[in-house]
């Protein structure tokens, strides 16, 4: 049970790192950036290059991946979304899907479609004390990833709540025109939001690669969609919501994967085959029952 919790938190952490970018970009632009999963993928590959080609230490590789992803996020926003700022929202959404496919295919052209082995960076050997005393398999690698994730989440919360640009992000999320009337350069705030969200996803990409030991150009798709579900579950546009939603998604998926359903006396169905279906069922349920999500702000405000 405790073991499942550890696994759930690890999975939830990766989802959180991706979901935050979705929710922040949605906040300022009301756009689901479907290319976000690919930013995660590119982050993973930048990290892979940093680790296995340039032999950088883990922390440096994560930083390089964050920088690379931030740059990519900024370029995507400038090149693909800014020209559509005043176009119908559907146009931007379709463009997002286009950018997603473009990046997947550029990825396949440059590194091939086959999975690339990812160096573990930190050897995933279980911590002996926990294994002996609690029969818990927790690796040092997992702990480092969790600590790094926690640090990123705390850093992000501080940026959003304390800094001027963070407050401006929240102001733009609430009312872009009113923010303009305050003298806020909203284009710059939107650009910053893409950088920040993409950097976090880039770090997530490296953690994911290190954790699962593989990276490929299509790796962003599933985690991207799951993180999107997590963001919707938590309430799209809400940063604490994205963190909570991601943790819950991690719990649900790990929980479902761990059960075995007997179909007949000889056949059983492993829960892990249902994992994805359950994730999307969550999405449908949220949209039906509570479209604003768990921590989403009600759309009506006091006048």
């Amino acid at each position: 049970m405790l073991q499942q919790l550890v696994n759930a938190i690890s999975l939830g952490a990766v989802y959180a790192l991706i979901a935050l970018g979705y929710t922040m970009v949605y906040g300022v632009l009301r756009l689901i950036n479907f290319a976000h999963g690919e930013v995660f993928m590119v982050g993973a590959f930048v990290g892979l290059a940093a680790l296995s080609v340039f032999h950088l230490p883990f922390a440096a590789a994560v930083l390089v991946a964050m920088l690379g992803a931030a740059l990519l996020g900024m370029v995507i926003e400038r090149g693909a979304y800014r020209p559509l700022r005043n176009a119908p929202r559907l146009a931007a959404l379709i463009t997002a899907i286009g950018v997603s496919l473009l990046l997947q295919n550029i990825g396949m052209l440059t590194v091939g479609a086959a999975p690339n082995p990812y160096p573990p960076a930190i050897e995933p050997t279980p911590i002996p004390w926990l294994k002996e005393h609690a029969r818990l398999v927790v690796t040092e690698q997992q702990l480092v990833i969790l600590a790094a994730t926690a640090a990123i989440l705390i850093g992000l919360s501080l940026i959003v709540s304390r800094t001027k640009i963070g407050k401006a992000m929240r102001a733009v999320s609430e009312d872009r025109q009113a923010a303009q009337l305050m003298g806020i350069n909203t284009d710059r705030v939107i650009s910053f939001t893409f950088c920040l969200g993409s950097a976090i996803a880039g770090a997530g990409g490296v953690f994911y690669g290190v954790y699962y030991g593989t990276a490929d150009p299509l790796m962003g798709f599933m985690p991207g969609i799951k993180a999107f579900v997590a963001a919707v579950l938590g309430g799209i546009g809400s940063i604490p919501g994205a963190m909570l939603g991601a943790l819950l998604m991690g719990l649900v998926e790990t929980g479902v994967s761990s059960v075995t359903i007997p179909l007949s006396s000889t056949e059983t169905l492993s829960g892990s085959t249902l994992r994805d279906a359950v994730a999307f069922t969550v999405l449908i349920l949220v949209l039906l029952v509570r479209p604003a999500g768990l921590l989403g702000r009600p759309t009506r405000e006091k006048v």
């Binding site: 929240r170 102001a171 609430e174 025109q177 009113a178 303009q180 009337l181 806020i184 702000r297 006091k302």
Partner: protein, 234 residues
Amino acid sequence: MLVLRKVDVHYGPIQALHDVSLEIAEGEIVTLIGANGAGKSTTLRLVSGLVRSTSGEVLFENASLAKVAPHDIVARGIGQVPEGRRVFAGLTVLENLEMGAYLVRGRQRVREALEEVFELFPRLRERRTQRAGTLSGGEQQMLAIGRTLMSRPKLLLLDEPSLGLAPTLVQTIFGVIADIQRRGVTILLVEQNAHMALRVADRGYVLETGRIVLADTAANLEASPEVRAAYLGE
């Protein structure tokens, strides 16, 4: 200070302003009165750069604003309090005011502006840690005005500041408007409450379906039979 010369504004195929010309001199309070949809808000949105004119000129301190981004218009000294207050509901009162001072450089100057706003609206000081969404309508209006004053505008555009407020609050807000003028801020006031607007203003323009139909001193407008019939309910 502000000059609009023969301005047209279109929203798609619909023309919202026809050949509008108006002028505001430094230190004045000028009011725009007119019915719903007459183009009052559009005029303010035009000055702030949220909509653009299809012909004509907008000049502030003798420089055209046609190609100036909205945030740079704020930097030049034009602040707008939008209709419906539009405070940032999820941010605290203090954070809202900080956003108003977004372009103000230096902590000391922000603090000075903050003191001035708190002096004008002592209620905001009491509520500074509260989320703006939890304020009453009147308090939100005070916050909306205070927030815009944080940038220390030379020209303040006020869009329906009395809308939806109780009569005593309307009195308070208009008292503050006069107070702001005394501090040397020029004001362009859009109001449906023509009675109050004309009392505080020096001059006024009457807009009807996107055209200026009357322009005169506030006293003359208040006395004019057309205005009395159409906007003062007499």
